[in-house]
Amino acid sequence: MFLNQFLFFAAILFSIGVYGVLTRKNGVLVLMSIELILNAVNINLVAFGALHQDISGQVFVLFVIAVAAAEVGVGLAIVLLIFRNRRSINVAEADLLKG
């Protein structure tokens, strides 16, 4: 396996994630897209860790996984709060704030 295969895969995953965040209207799907980006980073970190024969890349991945879980927990909680008040998790309908 070559390093660039991992890097390309991660870059594609990253792009899909960014595209999802920018275009998806459903709040939960936006959260999933962010997860995709974080997983792209994880692939990068593991690949680079293997390249450098260095453990800290893999350690980093563990922390990223935990932080991603915390982030999703908070994100779902906020989505839930909005759903309770508005009966909708459509991002495009969140337009109370404008100047």
Partner: protein, 176 residues
């Protein structure tokens, strides 16, 4: 890439098996559809739309808690593997970590997040329930936020006559 050959073979086998089954059953089985056979129910009211999928919102809460606690355990594995070499330092570190993780359980239980019954603890601690809140204040606060139609009608009422606005401070004084 040679190590991916079994995966590819399995993928082909799996999809091929499914495809063959579909095609063969299509070819072999008799097909004589009638209107009754195609209807969702043989008798009763034909549904006009998809039924809404409803399940309690509490499941989300449980799922969220599960995600957090599930993932935090990931830090126990490296410790478990390296435990022999780490000695007491590792044990103390992991105990501190566990204490912090389980501290959140105390908070959850006190908030009633793990109650399945009538949620009494939750109701008592909820900031939405408060002695300061009278019927008037509750209706006013909760009713207006995020509901534009009512706000519009309220605006109209205010513009029509200032009597409404004048009476508001008096009500407030009475309530206080």
């Amino acid at each position: 890439m040679a190590q991916y050959l079994p995966v590819l073979a399995l993928l082909l086998l799996g999809s091929g098996f499914a495809a063959i089954n579909l095609v063969v059953s299509k070819l072999v089985s008799p097909s004589r559809p009638t209107e009754e056979k195609l209807a969702p129910y043989e008798c009763g009211i034909v549904p006009g739309r998809e039924p809404p999928h409803r399940f309690p919102v509490r499941f989300y809460l449980i799922a969220m808690l599960f995600i957090i606690f599930d993932i935090e355990i990931v830090f126990l594995y490296p410790w478990a593997v390296a435990n022999a070499g780490l000695g007491r330092f590792g044990l103390v570190a992991i105990l501190i970590f566990s204490a912090l993780v389980f501290e959140s359980f105390i908070y959850l239980i006190s908030k009633g997040a793990l109650d399945w019954g009538t949620l009494q603890v939750n109701r008592r601690l909820s900031p939405m329930v408060n002695e300061d809140r009278t019927v008037e204040s509750t209706v006013r606060k909760v009713g207006l936020v995020g509901r534009f139609e009512e706000v519009e009608s309220l605006k109209d009422a205010l513009i029509d006559g200032n009597a409404a606005t004048d009476s508001v401070p008096e009500q407030d004084g009475a309530a206080a």
